[in-house]
């Protein structure tokens, strides 16, 4: 076991981990953070996407030990008190949520995109979420949501 310290959704965390375990395993099994989902456990579906230092990563294949000293944001950390992040609100408004299992990962991939790119085209949005599988929506309304949010995000 090894001790690491990192920032999770704004709070300082100390946790002891098995050096072989994944970030997803640590979040779900040690810290009870269930927003990130496991759809495949092999880096193939994006359901486990979280932000490490503002970049989207597949937590299921990201070594937990690597977040030592870094900043991690999961879907739970997006909301400011009562206020949803504009991307979360856009997902609700445009009907981009169905079963919701891909949603946390989708929203964080979208956040990575919009943090780095204020006015993405639909094609750029498609590329940004191409590692996130959604079987329910056919992606249309997810792309709409991100496009819609990009207007809001760039305003604020």
């Amino acid at each position: 076991m090894q001790n690491i310290e990192f920032t999770l959704n704004g709070s300082q965390i100390e946790v002891s981990i098995d050096p072989r375990e994944s970030l997803l395993h640590m979040l779900r099994n040690r810290l009870g953070v269930f927003g990130p989902k496991e759809g495949c456990g092999k880096g193939e579906c994006g359901a486990c996407t979280v932000l490490v230092e503002h970049n989207a990563v597949n937590a299921c294949i990201f070594p937990a030990g690597k977040v030592d000293g870094l900043e991690v944001v999961t879907i739970e950390g997006l909301q400011q008190g009562e206020h949803l992040h504009p991307i979360q609100q856009a997902f609700i408004d445009t009907g981009a949520v169905q079963c919701g299992f891909c949603t946390p990962g989708m929203i964080l991939s979208a956040k990575d995109l919009l943090d780095h790119h204020h006015k993405p085209s639909r094609q750029e949005i498609r590329r940004a979420i191409s590692g996130n599988i959604c079987r329910c929506t056919g992606y249309s309304k997810i792309i709409d949501a991100i496009e819609y949010a990009s207007k809001d995000v760039s305003k604020s």
Binding site: G32, F34, G35, P36, K37, E38, G39, C40, G41, K42, E44, C45, A47, T74, I75, E76, L78, Q79, L84, Q88, Q89, F91, I92, D93, T94, G95, A96, V97, Q98, C99, G100, F101, C102, T103, P104, I107, I125, R126, R127, I129, S130, G131, N132, I133, C134, R135, C136, T137, G138, Y139, S140, K141, I142, I143
Partner: protein, 759 residues
Amino acid sequence: MKKQAYQVIGKSLPRSDAYDKVTGKARYTVDVEVPGMLHAKVLRSPYPHAKVVRIDVDRAKSLPGVAGIVTWENTPRVLFNATSTHTQSPPPFEAVKDQYIFDNKVRYVGDEVAAVAATSPEIAEEAIRLIKVDYKILPAVMTVEEAEETSAPRIHEDKNNSNMIGSPIENNMGDIQEGFKCSAHTVECTYTFPVQKQCQLEPQAALAMKAEDGRMMVYSTTQAPHPTRKILSDIFSLPMNQIRVANPPYVGGAFGVRIGFSAKAEPIAVALALLTEKPVKIVYSRDEDFIASETRHAGTIRVKLGFSDDGIIQAADVESRMNGGAYASWSVDVNGAINSRALTIYRIPHLHFHGYSVYTNTTLAGAARGFGAPAPTYAMEMTVDKAARTLNMDPIAFRLKNIIQVGDAWSAPFPCRSTGLKECMERGKKRIGWDDFSKKSYDSNHPRYLRGVGMAVGNHISSAFPFQTDYTGANVYVLPDGSVQVETALVEMGTGVKTTLGQIAAEVLGVPMESVWVKIGDTDSSYDIGGQASRSLYAGGSAVKKAAEAVREQILAYVALKQDCTVDNLDLRDGWIWVHNEKAMPFSEMTQDADYHNVQFSRLEKHKTDNALSWHAHFARIKIDTWTGKIFVEKLVAAHDMGKAINPQIVEGVIEGGVSMGIGYALSEEITYDHHGKQIQDSYHKYMLPTSMDYGEIEPIIVEAHEPSGPFGARGIGENSVAAVAPAIMCAVRNLLGIDVTELPLTPERLLKQIALNK
């Protein structure tokens, strides 16, 4: 009192589950944890067909942390069918029960041999590796052809003396010989279909434990809690009321893969929980989900169509042979659906259908979104398109001459009371720009690219009636503070039923959506057969509407007495009681008052068992790269008539999702087996699921032909948009290249081969 426009019906209100889902608060079975819980893993067969001669669990048992091991030797020898349909098949339909939790024979690679419960998933995994099994390998059959040979090994020795699953489905109307005699033209073709996987994002999972109230509590990913409870009750000889099955409350997609058991997650968890007297959780890995949970049926369909010079269909002869895999699951029923999807779109005076499924040593095939529909819709629509071409007729004009109209005789066991198919065709045709694109066109900049359009139509059911018991109970009650509770056992697996059922109750009771709470996915609710057959809104919505209407009557009668007026002078709207068209008091004040007077407003209702078909027309605009064989769907217009759209935004979303699955079915998705009988595509990476980059825009069109039997005129929509995608695309391919695509999916390799053959 003057009829008001709807307040909430027909409005794209935000989904009531969306907040939970965008904030990460939504809980799924995989997220449920209880103190002292054990984790289970399954040992699966590496062989497609073998006898289990001996299982040695000694080493596994002595591994520290292992709490219990189950095999065929210490679990109930009760046969079952893991799906809801064979749990409650009304006569004359006969249940085919051919599965045990574990058997002393394995019938496909992935079949369950044993399961271990341990203090961690890692220990359970290690214990699995320590179990030693001696197998006697038997010859395996992987295809329908192999399974049908007289010398083929029997996969279920006790069933018949062939590998046929149950009995074939037959359907006759008119006189088929006569029909072809009076046909000036006939076209005939056989089509081959692949195995498709549902690929819901949440893997199969269950958690079983003795609850505080002494009952067996099972959290599960099932899309049919009551039928799941029934099968568990049969296996473990527990009264149904001593088992509770519930989603916690969400299900991460389903698409037919768990109408009943989630593969075998529930019975394995229960068996281990009983053995260890501890809570046991089991979550399948993605590759287990691929190899050991149901798929769509692969198979072949032959269609022969007879029609007159003026393009009137006279006769249709359809034959289907499906690969059912190792266990029956839905394999009898699927041919009923194939019959129905192929033969209820057009007026066909003389028709014949014969269809059956056979056992093979492949992963069992079951229900998949658009149950039974993609294959027959493809076979029929490709044949109809060909018939139109034979006569040099526009395929839309040909179809318009033949489509079913209200009141027509057809072979479905319920009447056609509404259809908006014509409007779907007309609006879709306009939106895609049919007249501009129907001629073959080269991309002017790159002659290597071809661009063109194709179309196809289809229909789908709105409930399982009369093929299966189909009923739903809904409880509606108004609480003293004016909030409304609706209870059903329907499942929120993404289709929006938690929201739309709430809209129905809110509309009837004249209260805002926020004051309605809908309980879902729990057997501690009235009986219901679950989220399947596109029935949740049609059947569940009817039950909720009926119950809410009864409650409304109770309220109006109470207020009329209080206000000393007749109910005709009253209304419930916007959360207010209206008397003589004036706001008299808030709804909550009235309910508080009723409470003081010992009056409660509540009702349990059941929908009137019925069925109706929804209709659709799809138009695909595609671009073919003749060098690489790649087809890109630039636009897919999906015009759907589902009667009243209770929530148009939800309807659109559901249509788009189905179209996406249809594009995968047409162009890329396929499971094949290696020569050891093992699935080759057992991960998302190997199985070519459409990503956000793989097609252009999907444009849904909503057509609303009022359905008299549905709530507010609504029919089903959940599964409808998968089937007519592939034929729309392949009619465009035929248009552009003159190629008849008889095998799906049309991968770039297959298309290049076809192009070469055609030269």
